[in-house]
């Protein structure tokens, strides 16, 4: 799994602070939590010698880097579709109290983050996740309810 150290290794490591962060390490952490992207580091983006590293970072920490924008990762091979996370997720409960919030099939699908499809949890609408956005909090609803540690956040 991608970690901050791995991303740090790919940065210019000059601590020039152009990105607005105090150090390259801090920038790596911001990359990991999707607060910033590779484009926010001017030297990395503009200097040709960093081209390869720039691309690599985009691959690891870009929107298509395996994790969703919140860093939510589902280990599909572990998940067995028990639905604990689906029913426990506060955003799911708030958006569909009588469907998933009551343990049943979704009644209102629109804003659900977690649902079960073909026996495996599927994440969507992740921008609704409480770990994301301005008022983010360290919600662990889907992590502590999973018997097999199939959900992980890479922050």
């Amino acid at each position: 799994m991608t970690n901050a150290m791995e991303l740090y290794q790919l940065l210019p490591k000059t601590n020039c602070k152009e990105c607005g962060k105090t150090s390259c390490m801090a920038f790596a952490v911001a990359l990991l939590s999707r607060e910033l992207t590779a484009d926010d580091c001017p030297p990395l983006k503009n200097e040709p010698k960093f081209k390869e590293k720039y691309e690599k970072i985009n691959e690891l920490a870009g929107p298509a880097g395996g994790a969703t924008e919140t860093g939510l990762i589902v280990h599909e091979e572990l998940c067995f579709g028990c639905g604990n996370c689906v029913v426990a997720c506060p955003v799911n409960v708030a958006n569909d109290p009588y469907g998933v919030g009551s343990g049943n099939a979704p009644k209102k699908n629109e804003k659900l983050i977690l649902t079960i499809e073909d026996g495996i949890v599927k994440a969507q609408n992740v921008d609704e996740c409480r770990r994301f956005g301005k008022n983010k909090i360290l919600c662990t609803g889907c992590i502590v309810t999973c018997p097999v540690e199939a959900i992980e956040f890479v922050v």
């Binding site: 067995f80 028990c82 604990n84 029913v87 409960v93 343990g103 099939a105 073909d118 026996g119 097999v148």
Partner: protein, 416 residues
């Protein structure tokens, strides 16, 4: 717009909120079911198949052959039925009466005694819907629903909001597990996991009763008394407590007396009431037990004889095979050759077998007559009895090419 839901017959939970997307005539995407349920529903619905001595024959020949085996037998055994509909089970009971057969299901070596005690009202019981709406204590004893009934905690016993449980599991519910190992369910229970040594359940019950009665709880395996007293206190505070009893507890107890005593004590000492629900594995084992109980007063292990019924361990599948009292077997939706201990199963090879099953099994391969039936809930409709006794009707999801076991049993009846 109301959505169309199907029932999953993958386990005794009979989830009734499954959405299916069809692809041509087959099941495509399955929504909301767990992985076990998805595998069960997508099991390929093969063609009907009738085999006599391993050779393909037509339906008529197979039914006639099966009928003649049963007619020739002095004391045939009818066994299985845990994955048959209520309707098919009724047919099988009629058939057993007509044939003066021995009739049993898997409950004789698993949860039978517990279900009998519930039907005899030795325990208070409630529905899973009550659990969702009211329970503040869900106590898993010798059961591991996270593995055996994957949606148990999410649909009913721990995570959902319910009528009187609007604030969610963190605030309003406590899940407790007693087991010999840290199961997946125990993991979810966190601090409320109480590990006992194998066979230690009776003693743990004794100690818990002592704790509930304000005495010092002692066990030979030195379970920390303080932790036991904490458990007793949590239980005392319950307004609506439910114990989900699994095989782990039943196998560990010599009889149900300790459990009855515990339930009585809990109901006396706790703020509210305590109920018990058996963790039935097969989707309709409880249905068989209830139907037979209604008819005969027994849940399993019976022998019909010219209108009267005999009952006792001697008529269980295990004992009747051991004693060689049965001379043919009709096996429905079960694979005793694979599941019974070898010393007992081998007796099945000495007598003619008839199997009715959606799958090829060890038993079906050794059978004189083997008939492939449709999977109920997928290829056949009907009704079943959930682990908590609630009737769940269902319809087939796809057009079946294979007959249901109910249809096969009806034809067998006619042929007799």
């Amino acid at each position: 717009m109301e959505k169309e839901y199907y029932v999953c017959t993958g386990c005794g939970l009979l989830c009734d909120d499954i959405e299916l997307e069809m692809e041509k005539d087959l099941i495509g995407k399955v929504h909301t079911a767990c992985r076990v349920g998805v595998a069960h529903m997508k099991e390929s619905p093969g063609e009907a198949e009738y085999l006599v001595d391993g050779k393909k024959v037509d339906e008529k020949t197979a039914i006639e052959e099966a009928a003649s085996v049963l007619k020739a037998a002095r004391n045939p055994l009818i066994f299985g039925l845990g994955t048959s509909t209520n309707e098919a089970q009724k047919k099988a009971i009629e058939l057993a009466e007509k044939l003066n057969a021995t009739l049993d299901d898997t409950s004789s070596f698993c949860l039978g005694p517990l279900i009998e005690a519930i039907l005899q009202e030795k325990f208070k019981t409630c529905t899973l819907d009550d659990v969702r709406n009211k329970a503040d204590i869900s106590f898993f004893w010798g059961s591991d629903p996270a593995d055996s009934h994957p949606r148990h905690l999410s649909k009913f016993s721990y995570f959902p909001r319910g009528q009187e449980k609007q604030r969610g599991w963190e605030e309003e519910r406590t899940a407790i597990a007693v087991d010999i190992r840290k199961s997946h369910t125990a993991k979810i229970c966190g601090n409320e996991f109480y590990q006992v040594p194998p066979g230690g359940d009776a003693e743990f019950i004794e100690a818990l009763i002592a704790g509930l009665s304000g005495k010092l709880p002692k066990t030979s395996f030195k379970f920390p008394p303080k932790k036991l007293l904490e458990l007793a206190n949590i239980l005392k505070g319950a307004r609506f407590g439910v114990i989900f009893v699994g095989l782990g507890l039943i196998y560990s107890l010599e009889n149900l007396e300790p459990l009855i005593k515990l339930m009585d004590t809990l109901n006396e000492k706790a703020k509210g009431d305590f109920y018990l629900i058996p963790m039935v594995g097969h989707y309709n084992m409880r249905g068989f037990n209830e139907t037979l109980f209604e008819k005969t007063g027994f849940v399993n292990s019976v022998k019909f004889e010219e209108g009267s019924v005999k009952h006792g361990p001697g008529y269980s599948v295990v004992e009747s095979l051991k004693a060689k009292t049965v001379d043919a077997a009709l096996i429905i939706g079960s694979d005793p050759l694979a599941s019974l201990p070898h010393s007992i199963a081998k007796q099945l090879l000495e007598i003619p077998l008839i199997t009715i099953d959606p799958c090829e099994t060890l038993s079906s391969r050794k059978a004189k007559v083997s008939i492939r039936s449709g999977v109920s809930g997928v290829e056949a409709g009907g009704s079943a009895t959930r682990m908590d006794g609630v009737q769940v009707p269902f319809r087939p999801a796809i057009d079946a090419k294979r007959p249901s076991d109910e249809e096969i049993l009806s034809k067998l009846m006619e042929a007799l």
